[in-house]
């Protein structure tokens, strides 16, 4: 049995400990906000927080996540009101939207550790997340806006 604490709820799963966390989240628990893009840690669509770090759930085995705290896009905020979510909406960032769960989860770690990032800091944090639609200019703008909305504080969840 694997025990995962996802968005503060405990799930007991009868899965192979080798199963990537991505598939446990999507297919076993039914949280489909976390996306499958490449399966080899190249695109970042599957980013979730494991004990606060932006891990790629497509290569993170359930075994590593066992008894650990996981936050998915569904649990980032209760009302879609994390500063990044507000900023993403304000700047109309997504096109197809498929990559943005991962983009936002990655950006959340950036803002937590660097409350007012520069463009270079954003590149350093976000170059692991592919957006095929090319919404990168807006991702940048929205991260700057979120930093502003949060008043430059680093205490993002």
């Amino acid at each position: 049995m694997i025990s995962l604490t996802v968005n503060q709820k405990i799930y007991q799963l009868d899965v192979d400990p080798e199963m990537p966390l991505l598939w446990a989240l999507r297919e076993v628990i039914g949280l489909t906000g976390t996306k499958f893009g490449c399966g080899v840690a190249q695109c970042g669509a599957c980013v979730v927080h494991l004990n606060g770090e932006a891990v790629r759930s497509c290569v993170t085995k359930c075994d590593r996540a066992n008894h650990q705290a996981i936050t998915t896009i569904e649990g980032l905020s209760k009302n879609n009101d994390h500063p990044l979510q507000l900023a993403w909406n304000e700047e109309n960032v997504p096109q197809c939207g498929y990559c943005h769960s991962g983009q936002i989860m990655s950006a959340a770690v950036l803002l937590r550790e660097n409350p007012s990032p520069t463009d270079q800091d954003i590149d350093d944090a976000m170059a692991g997340n592919i957006c095929r639609c090319g919404t990168y200019p807006r991702i940048r703008k929205a991260i700057h806006l979120a930093a502003k909305l949060n008043g430059g504080k680093g205490d993002l969840k």
Binding site: D16, M19, P20, W23, R26, E27, V28, G30, L31, T32, G33, T34, K35, F36, G37, C38, G39, V40, Q42, C43, A45, T72, I73, E74, L76, S77, N80, L84, Q85, W88, N89, N92, V93, P94, Q95, C96, G97, Y98, C99, H100, S101, I104, I122, D123, M126, A127, G128, N129, I130, C131, R132, C133, G134, T135, Y136, P137, R138, I139, R140
Partner: protein, 715 residues
């Protein structure tokens, strides 16, 4: 048959009480009815007695913004804000007709007036109903936020309260459209209602469909494209816990039929891992000798053929050119993959003679047998027995115009009773096509003694999109899709001949965002630049000299000239390049500025992108689309294509078939031209001008001419 399907839709669109439906008949006439079952027409507005208003979006949302822009056309005229209505995505229902598709940048350019007309007719009939109810003049009433108001007495009735009365009245045949100066939605920076769903994980994409009891499947396809399955051995696969069934499934891509081996299991991960234990034997049919390098050499040889003339103006063979007034060049572009980030997927459940499908597709009505194509025949179901759930699309780019992955998934679902979700791995998506075909271009130009372009020839040498998609294609004819835009440019050239040499290819090909314009524009607009230099003229001036008559293309170039301060000299090592391209989807032009550094690297300083739309619905969305187009265009220029080695695709995933990342993007400035005229598309015209404008800028900065895609930003 039609009735059954219509009843099916009506059943799924049950309203709580009395409701008024307004829309278009198949002849394009305005129509309304209280009872949808009584008549066959496509409703776009539903007003319920409760006041609830629903607008139907028939254009699958692939990221291009139709979830907002399409209903906005109706809402503007109906005097409701999008916050006050429910937007419903249609699912290929028979009722909604054969235009439930997103492709060709067509959603707005084909609907701009018809949808506004529906909204305006609804508004007028509701005003008429209110005036009648109050026994006042129609001119004393106006519509506002879902209600009709009597200006003098401030009496107010909601649309819902007026439907019964409205239903008795005739719809105006030619309702008066709003004066654009009163627009509240159109032309304004607007929020897209799908965005909040895309920031908290609640947007449901095809791959997110959850159907109770669902199984998961992968399909192992011939590694050599064109191989046929001889046999397979799944003994070891069946021993893996979680594997439910292994069987064959047919996939049809245009004229090609492939059979793969499906592994159905309790999770995608188990099914995908089980592929390693599957033993398959294929007959490669000789296609394992296919190599991209050989094929490119073959195309270069074919280039010597005269080809079939697509368009001829004047007589290029009878032009007297001064000595040295002649220039020739050869351009090459690669095969590329679409790489939508949502991997191809489709969930299907077969119950006897019925099938239910959950997927992301660009062509909802074709999936249900209402639109073009014969997918229902391929899967063996009558159209009325196909139910589709058309979910958000995690990127289309033309890949999801093809329905091969849906056909295959339905065939997989036939193997079991449970619903099955078939997911393609990223490697599957990269390697199995259909791909954008390569185009090679042979160009010739002739300049008069004054340096004026007086003769021009563009010969395209390429495999054929039509031949790959349609068995009835006549190979003795020009595939117009491969000549896209070439003869449509506004340049006034007295002698012109454009021709096509078709090359056989056994690999399925398909449109890729902006179709062939994404490759032939590179050749043609780069070559125009070469001719300008040959004529010792400024590339902008040279183009404008070819545009004496007023044209939209000329407007675009003049705007670019102004925005880029074209004549302002850049420092040594830097340069500007311009390109413009008009084609079926629309019209755009770009100026790119680059700097070539001492270490031979090239950086893009900025991109100025102008798009001519005639009318704009949501400028903010257009800017987003244009930024994305430039970035996709840059990726197509600088990242590798798809290469075949011994019949197999050499690339696998984003590590060897990379996409542009946030640290690689240039500064992009977008300008939208909206001074009326033909309404043009948004999704694609941002792509074709980019590659030539970049190559032209590099030439201006360094004197080095790139004639083959892809190329790295290194001299």
């Amino acid at each position: 048959m039609e009735d059954i399907s219509r009843r099916h839709f009506i059943a799924s669109a049950t309203t709580a009480g009395l409701a008024l439906w307004l829309g278009l008949t198949s002849e394009g006439n305005l129509y309304k009815a209280l009872d949808l079952a009584s008549v066959n027409f496509s409703p776009f507005i539903l007003i319920e007695a409760s006041g609830q208003i629903t607008l139907f979006n028939t254009k699958p949302e692939i990221g291009q913004g139709t979830f907002q822009s399409f209903p906005a056309l109706i809402a503007e005229e109906l005097e409701v804000s999008l916050d006050e209505v429910t937007i419903k995505q249609t699912n290929g229902e028979y009722q909604f007709g054969n235009a439930q598709r997103s492709g060709g940048s067509a959603s707005i350019r084909n609907s701009y007036l018809p949808m506004r007309k529906i909204g305006a007719a609804a508004r007028e009939v509701l005003i008429k109903a209110a005036a009648k109810t109050w026994n006042v003049l129609e001119s004393e009433c106006f519509a506002q936020r879902g209600s009709i108001i009597h200006a003098l007495t401030e009496r107010k009735l909601s649309y819902g309260a007026l439907i019964q009365e409205a239903a008795k009245l005739d719809l105006p045949e030619n309702p008066k459209l709003k004066d654009p100066k009163y627009f509240k939605i159109l032309g304004k920076m607007s929020k897209r209602p799908d965005i909040p769903l895309k920031t908290n994980g609640s947007a449901e994409f095809g791959i997110d469909a959850i159907v109770p009891g669902m199984l998961y499947a992968v399909v192992y396809r011939s590694p050599v494209i064109g191989g046929t399955l001889k046999s397979f051995d799944a003994t070891e696969v069946m021993k893996i816990p979680g594997v439910v069934k292994v069987g064959t499934a047919e996939r049809i891509v245009g004229v090609y039929n492939y059979t793969g081996v499906a592994i159905i299991a309790t999770s995608y991960w188990i099914a995908n891992k089980a592929k390693e234990k599957l033993i398959t034997h294929w007959d490669n049919n000789g296609f394992d000798k296919f190599n991209t390098l050989d094929y490119e050499a073959h195309l270069r040889v074919l280039a010597k053929q005269a080809g079939i003339v697509e368009k001829s103006v004047g007589n290029v063979d009878d032009v007297n050119l001064p000595p040295n007034g002649y220039l020739e060049a050869f351009y090459e572009t690669p095969i590329i993959a679409h790489h939508a980030l949502e991997p191809l997927n489709c969930t299907a459940q077969v119950k006897k003679d019925k099938v239910e499908i959950w997927t992301s597709t660009q062509v909802s009505s074709a999936v249900t047998g209402k639109g073009a194509g014969d997918m229902h025949v391929q899967i063996g179901f009558a159209p009325e027995n196909i139910t589709l759930h058309s979910l958000f699309v995690g990127g289309g780019f033309g890949r999801r115009l093809s329905m091969d992955y849906i056909v295959e998934a339905v065939n997989v679902a036939k193997l079991v009773e449970q619903p099955v979700k078939v997911i393609w791995s990223r490697e599957d998506c990269t390697q199995h096509g259909p791909f954008r075909p390569m185009t090679f271009s042979k160009l010739k130009g002739g300049l008069s003694a004054e340096g004026k372009l007086i003769s021009f020839e563009h010969k395209v040498i390429s495999p054929s999109l039509q031949q790959s998609r349609d068995n009835s294609f006549d190979p003795s004819k020009v595939d117009l899709a491969m000549m896209e835009g070439i003869s449509e440019q506004a340049y006034e050239i007295p002698n012109m001949r454009n021709s096509y040499v078709r090359a056989d290819l056994h690999i399925p090909v398909s449109p890729w965002r902006s179709v062939t314009s994404s490759t032939v524009s590179f050749a043609q607009e780069s070559f125009i630049d070469e001719l300008a230099y040959k004529a010792k003229k400024d590339p902008m001036d040279f183009r404008l000299e070819l545009l004496q008559k007023p044209s939209d293309a000329k407007k675009v170039l003049l705007k670019l000239k102004e925005l880029s301060q074209w004549y302002t000299k850049l420092p040594k090592g830097s340069g500007k390049g311009v390109a413009v391209w008009e084609f079926f989807a629309g019209l755009g032009g770009q100026v790119v500025e680059v700097t070539c550094h001492k270490d031979k690297t090239i950086t893009i300083d900025r991109v100025i992108a102008v798009i001519d739309l005639g009318e704009v619905v949501n400028p903010d969305n257009v800017i987003n689309q244009m930024e994305g187009s430039v970035i996709m265009g840059l990726g197509a220029v600088t990242k590798g294509g798809i290469n075949f080695v011994n019949g197999k695709v050499a690339e696998h995933n984003f590590y060897d078939s990379p996409l542009l990342r946030v640290n690689e993007i240039p500064k992009i400035e977008v300008h939208i031209l909206t001074d009326g005229g033909k309404v043009k598309g948004v999704g694609e015209p941002g792509l074709p001008p980019f590659a030539p404008a970049l190559a032209n800028a590099i030439f201006a900065a360094s004197g080095k001419r790139f004639r083959k895609l892809p190329f790295k930003l290194i001299l």
